[in-house]
C-alpha cells in the first residue's frame, strides 16, 4: 500500500520537475505578483512594510491557484486516472499523495522564498520567520481545498477555467488568519499564537475535507 | 588585504553571493555539457547515426 502511495508521490514530483512540468511556475508567479504590487502602490517603503504580509499572502494564494487545474486533468486526459482507480490504494490515499506532491512543488517553495521576497516589501527582519511560518502552515489548506475543487472539475471539458472562482471563496478563512497571524508578528494587540493555531486547525481540517471531497468527486465522475 | 572597514560583512556577503550564483551557473553548464557529450557518445557508439547497416539491432 505504501509503495503505491510513494509511487504516486514520486511520479508527480518527477513530472513537475521535467520539462513542461511547470514545477517552478508557482514560485515565478509569486515573485511577479510581489513585484507588481509596489508598482501599483508606489515605491514608498513605509506604506509597503505596513501591508507586506497581505501582499505576500495574496501572492501565495494566487500562485497556488494557477497550476491547480492540471492536478487531475492531466491524469484524466491520458487515462492515468483509470489506472489510479484500479489501484489497490484507496482513492483517498491516492488523492492525499497528489495533494502532498502539489504542496511540495508550490506551497513549500513559496513559504521558503517568502522571507527573501519580504525584502521587496520592506518586511522587517523579525517578521520574516513568522510570515514564513504562517505560509508554511497555511498553504497545505490551499493545496487540499484546491485538490477537492480540481477533482470536481477534472472531468469537465473547460472545468479548469472556473476553478479559481470555485476555490477563492473557500480560502477566505485561511487568508484572514494567515494575514492576521503575520501582522501579529509585526506587533499589535493580538498575540501571534492565537491566529496561528487557528490557521493550523484550518489546514488540518482542509486536508481531511479536501481529500474526502476529491475522492468522492473522482469516484463517480467516470 | 586592507582592513575592510565597518561594513566588511556586506562586502564578503556580496562576493559570496557572486561565487554562489556564478559557481552554480558554471557548474550546471559544465555538468550539462558533460552529460550531453556522454549521451551523444553512447548513442553514436550504438551506430544509430549511420543508417547504413540495418542489421545492428
Amino acid at each position: 500500500m505504501t509503495r503505491a502511495f510513494l509511487a504516486i508521490l514520486k511520479r508527480d514530483l518527477a513530472l513537475a520537475s521535467r520539462a513542461g512540468g511547470g514545477g517552478e511556475l508557482a514560485l515565478v508567479f509569486f515573485l511577479t505578483i510581489v513585484v507588481l504590487v509596489p508598482f501599483a502602490l508606489g515605491p514608498d517603503l513605509n506604506l509597503l512594510s505596513r501591508i507586506g504580509p497581505a501582499i505576500l499572502w495574496l501572492g501565495a494564494l494566487l500562485s497556488m491557484l494557477i497550476g491547480l487545474d492540471r492536478l487531475f486533468q492531466g491524469d484524466e486526459e491520458d487515462g492515468s486516472l483509470d489506472l489510479i482507480r484500479a489501484s489497490v490504494l484507496p482513492l483517498e490515499l491516492a488523492v492525499l499523495a497528489k495533494g502532498l506532491a502539489h504542496w511540495l512543488t508550490t506551497g513549500l517553495p513559496l513559504a521558503l522564498a517568502a522571507p527573501l521576497l519580504g525584502l521587496l516589501v520592506a518586511l522587517p527582519g523579525e517578521a520574516m520567520l513568522p510570515v514564513a511560518a504562517t505560509l508554511l502552515v497555511g498553504t497545505p489548506a490551499l493545496s487540499f481545498i484546491g485538490a477537492g475543487a480540481a477533482a470536481l472539475t477534472a472531468g469537465l471539458r473547460r472545468g479548469g477555467l472556473i476553478l479559481p472562482v470555485l476555490v477563492a471563496p473557500l480560502t477566505v478563512p485561511v487568508l484572514i488568519f494567515g494575514v492576521s497571524a503575520s501582522n501579529a508578528a509585526l506587533g499589535g494587540t493580538i498575540p501571534f499564537a492565537t491566529p496561528f493555531l487557528i490557521l493550523c486547525a484550518l489546514s488540518l481540517a482542509a486536508i481531511v475535507v479536501g481529500t474526502l471531497a476529491a475522492a468522492a468527486a473522482l469516484r463517480q465522475s467516470g | 588585504m586592507s582592513d575592510l572597514g565597518p561594513h566588511a560583512g556586506f562586502i564578503l556577503a556580496s562576493y559570496a553571493a557572486v561565487t554562489v550564483v556564478l559557481g552554480g551557473l558554471i557548474l550546471s553548464i559544465l555538468l550539462d555539457h558533460r552529460a550531453q557529450t556522454r549521451a551523444l557518445a553512447e548513442l553514436e557508439q550504438r551506430g544509430i547515426g549511420r543508417r547504413s547497416d540495418r542489421s545492428r539491432s
Binding site: 511547470g22 511556475l25 | 562586502i11 551557473l25
Partner: protein, 253 residues
C-alpha cells in the same frame, strides 16, 4: 540523410568553439585575476563609501552583462525570425540562464551594497527596479523554453517573446523612472557617485572585460551542450523509428 545536412553548420561551430574555448577562457582568467588584484589591493577606498565601493567591482559588470546578454538574445531572435540561421535559437536558449544569473548577481550585490548605504537591503530605486523587471522577463523566457520541448517550434515562439521584451525594456525604464520620481524616497545616493577616479576605472574596465570573457566561455559551452542535446534527441527519435520498423517486420513469438 536530411539530419546530417542541417548539422553542417553546427558541426563547424562545434569545431571552431573547441579551438576557441581554451584561448578565451585563458584570457578571461588572466583579466579576472589582474582585475580583482587591482580592485582589492590597489584601488583606494572611496572617500564617501569607504571599503563598500569594492562591491561596485562586481555589481556594475553584472549589470552591464545582464543587459548585454539580453541584447545578444534579441540579435539571436532576429537571426531566428529574419535570417533563419540554424544556430540563432541555440544561441538564444543558451544565453537566457547566463543573462538571468548576472541580473540576479546585480540585484544581490546591489542589496548588500544598499544596506550599508541606505539602511535597507532593497529600495525601489529606478535602476534596481528596472533590473528586477528584466530578471522577470528572463525568467519568463526560460519558463517558455521549458514548456515547449520541440526545438524549432519553441525557437520561433521565444524569439518573438524576446523581441517583444526588447521593445518593452526602454518603455519599462522610462515608466519606472517616472514612477520612481512620484514619491521620492529617502535621498538616494547615486550608485556610481561622481566621475570615477582613474584608479578605480581601470580595475572596473579590466574586470568588465574579464567577466565578459567568462560569460562568453559559458555561452559557448552552453551552446555546444544545446547542439548535442538536439543531436541526442534526433538520434533517440531515429532509434525509436528503427525499433518500430524492426519489430513490425519480425512478428515476435
Amino acid at each position: 540523410m536530411a539530419s546530417l545536412i542541417d548539422l553542417a553548420n553546427p558541426t563547424r561551430f562545434m569545431r571552431y568553439s573547441a579551438v576557441l574555448l581554451p584561448w578565451v577562457a585563458g584570457i578571461a582568467g588572466v583579466l579576472l585575476v589582474v582585475g580583482f588584484y587591482l580592485a582589492w589591493f590597489v584601488a583606494p577606498a572611496d572617500y564617501q563609501q569607504g571599503e563598500t565601493i569594492r562591491i561596485m567591482f562586481v555589481h556594475v559588470p553584472a549589470a552591464w552583462l545582464a543587459m548585454m546578454f539580453y541584447t545578444m538574445m534579441t540579435l539571436s531572435a532576429l537571426g531566428t525570425l529574419v535570417w533563419r540561421h540554424p544556430l540563432a535559437d541555440v544561441a538564444q536558449k543558451a544565453a537566457a540562464p547566463i543573462g538571468a544569473a548576472f541580473a540576479l548577481i546585480c540585484l544581490l550585490t546591489g542589496a548588500f551594497w544598499g544596506k550599508p548605504m541606505w539602511g535597507t537591503y532593497w529600495v525601489w530605486d529606478a535602476r534596481l527596479t528596472s533590473m528586477l523587471v528584466l530578471l522577470l522577463i528572463y525568467l519568463g523566457i526560460m519558463a517558455l523554453w521549458r514548456t515547449l520541448d520541440e526545438p524549432s517550434q519553441a525557437g520561433r515562439a521565444v524569439a518573438i517573446l524576446t523581441l517583444v521584451g526588447f521593445v518593452n525594456v526602454p518603455i519599462i525604464k522610462f515608466s519606472v523612472d517616472w514612477w520612481n520620481t512620484l514619491h521620492q524616497p529617502a535621498s538616494v545616493l547615486r550608485l556610481d557617485g561622481p566621475t570615477i577616479h582613474a584608479s578605480m576605472l581601470w580595475p572596473l574596465l579590466i574586470l568588465a572585460v574579464g567577466f565578459t570573457g567568462l560569460a562568453l566561455v559559458l555561452h559557448l559551452v552552453a551552446m555546444r551542450a544545446e547542439i548535442m542535446r538536439r543531436r541526442v534527441r534526433t538520434l533517440t527519435i531515429l532509434e525509436a523509428e528503427r525499433l518500430d520498423r524492426l519489430s513490425a517486420e519480425s512478428a515476435p513469438a
